[in-house]
């Protein structure tokens, strides 16, 4: 290669490398910014009041537990809906459905994933909430359950995409071997294919969790935003307030540098850490899976 080609190669390698590393740099910078703006809250508000159960910032009640609890219970509810429907759909699409059904169904699922969350929130507020109120005889339809149903719907396309790819990647020889030994189709799917695709399926669930925890507009419109600390699964039927909705609703009104401002950033740090933990757990599971598979195959 002559020098100009060599230089171009170096330049392109450098650009691609920086694009790759820039992701780490951006995430790092965001985290540092969050820490700078959020950590002063720990000095300004003592820890016992931070972990109290009353959130009313305009009168200096800064208990963030109800908010964390709200996000968690909605995510749990969303996962309870997204996992059966999502994994089930993925199994159907990759193992059972004939080619032509798959070609029609897949685009529709992608469209469901592309729906703006505000639109879903609007539909939830006007249609789903009254429906659930009448169906379950609740005081109001604006509850964690409504939020969980909508979030489950939003997470399903993510779960389906990734899980379906993981199931596709299982070698045909696995299925053939199982069927040749006399197993039924369902036995093959449940005991051979799904376990083989375990890491991808788990990743898809983790991605669904990440999607659900970070959702803002939908939950702000349908969960009622009442800062009640959920104490058990039955609190799925009561209104909740999520961390994301709190930040969205209150960030506009805080004076720069005030205690409320710092507390909102602290909530942002908590959200960031939860996402981080979810992603690290998913990666760790996948990593251990790969290690195990390497040991078995070698």
């Amino acid at each position: 290669m002559d020098t100009s080609n060599l230089r171009r190669e170096h330049l392109i390698t450098f650009l691609i490398k920086s694009a790759g590393y820039s992701a780490i740099v951006f995430v790092g910078m965001i985290f540092i910014f969050l820490l700078l703006e959020g950590l002063p809250a720990i000095q300004e508000v003592n820890l016992s009041s931070l972990f109290s159960s009353r959130w009313y910032p305009i009168e200096d009640y800064f208990g963030i537990l109800p908010l964390i609890g709200g996000s968690i219970i909605i995510t749990i509810g969303a996962i309870m809906i997204a996992v059966p429907f999502g994994i089930g759909t993925a199994v159907y699409l990759s193992e059972i459905a004939p080619r032509w059904i798959r070609d029609i169904l897949k685009p529709f699922i992608e469209i469901l994933g592309g729906l703006p969350s505000v639109v879903l929130g609007f539909l939830g507020m006007l249609v789903l909430a009254p429906f659930l109120r009448k169906l379950l005889d609740l005081p109001t339809g604006l509850t964690a359950l409504t939020g969980a149903v909508l979030l489950g719907g939003i997470a399903i396309p993510t779960v389906v995409s990734v899980a379906e790819d993981a199931l596709d990647a299982v070698p045909k020889s696995f299925r053939d071997a199982s069927l040749a030994m006399g197993a039924t189709e369902w036995q093959t799917i449940w005991r051979v294919t799904l376990p083989a695709a375990r890491s991808g399926v788990l990743t898809s669930i983790m991605l669904g969790v990440g999607r659900a925890i970070g959702e803002t507009m939908t939950v702000m419109m349908v969960t009622g935003n009442a800062p009640i600390l959920p104490k058990g699964i039955s609190d799925l039927f009561s209104p909740v307030r999520t961390m994301t909705a709190t930040i969205a609703a209150e960030m506009g009104e805080v004076a720069n540098g005030s205690v409320h401002y710092h507390i909102l950033f602290l909530i942002g740090i908590v959200l960031f850490l939860i996402s981080l933990i979810v992603n690290i757990t998913a990666s760790a599971v996948v990593f251990r899976q790969k290690k195990r598979q390497e040991r078995i195959l070698s």
Partner: protein
């Protein structure tokens, strides 16, 4: 190949830099010949009124650009403290700490009362309850009364609806209704009060939920919502909100609506505020369901 690469690079750099070059600073008052911009931000109660005013004003004064945003009284006041807005709309008074913060930041808030508003207590059309005393409303919202039966209605749980904490309406309701205007009272909203992000959210929930009770500015009450008659503390007469009862002082939950400027207004901002107190502008106030002021 090389020259076209360089041209591409130059064009992309320009495309990135040029948008940053045009900046309209918030307070640009010019002579009537140039276009000046007035930034107006704050209360969601006032936002429809401010928009209607802005549209009308631009007809008679096309050289002034008015930009109106909502976000709640708290947002508008915060913007005034930060110096990023010309006029802040607020449906509640600025607190002393806020005024002090503004002064510390170099702003000098000047207050104008631009209209009056009644807070209507609204329930579902099917709800048989017609009248409530102020103490009963306070007890409902602080969590002491939990079933409509205790007020003579059906056996249904009470679902309380409210605006978010950044709303001036919320703060006014906390101080004047829940705390009955007493400064020492520290009662709070019951923690299961639903905090909805907009008046439309409150209306949508009340329209289809017979358990619900909510409050909002009179201008936002539509015909498919039922308004409750309110009796003041110590009174036995239940009054429905209207322009007449607000101006006569009979309706107990009425408030002033404010606009705050940074220092005594001059130039385009002063002309706009003078116009707001004129008959044309106050007629728009009436059309939107608020109560006009006379100056």
């Amino acid at each position: 190949m090389k020259i076209s690469g360089v041209i591409l690079l130059v064009i992309s750099i320009c495309a990135l830099i040029l948008p940053g070059c045009s900046q309209i600073s918030p307070s640009s008052e010019g002579s009537p010949a140039t276009i000046s911009t007035i930034e107006n931000k704050g209360s969601d109660t006032i936002v429809n009124l401010a928009l209607a005013w802005a549209e009308k004003y631009q007809e008679i004064r096309p050289s002034v650009q008015l930009s109106v945003t909502g976000g709640g009284s708290g947002t508008g006041i915060a913007a005034l403290i930060n110096g990023t807005v010309d006029i802040a709309n607020a449906s509640r008074r600025m607190k002393e700490e806020e005024k002090q913060k503004a002064i510390d930041n170099g702003s000098d808030p000047v207050e104008f009362i631009i209209a009056k508003d009644a807070i209507a207590i609204i329930v579902n059309l099917e709800n048989p309850v017609d009248n409530l005393t102020l103490e009963q409303i306070s007890d409902i919202y602080s969590g002491k009364i939990n079933n409509w039966q205790e007020l003579g209605g059906d056996d249904r749980p009470i679902v309380r609806l409210s605006r978010e904490t950044n709303s001036g309406t919320h703060v006014y309701f906390l101080e004047e209704v829940i705390r009955l205007g007493q400064k020492e009272n520290k009662t709070l909203f019951s923690s299961n009060t639903l905090l909805l992000p907009s008046s439309e959210g409150i209306g949508a929930e009340i329209r289809q939920n017979p358990n619900a009770i909510g409050y909002d500015g009179l201008g936002y009450v539509t015909d498919d919502l039922k308004v409750i008659g309110v009796a003041a503390v110590g009174s036995e007469v239940f009054i429905l909100p209207s322009a007449t009862t607000v101006n006569s002082g009979e309706y107990p939950i009425a408030r002033d609506l404010y606009m705050y400027t940074n220092g005594t207004p001059t130039g385009a901002i002063q002309e706009y505020l003078d116009w707001i107190f004129s008959e044309d502008a106050q007629k728009i106030v009436e059309e939107l369901g608020f109560v006009p002021v006379s100056k």
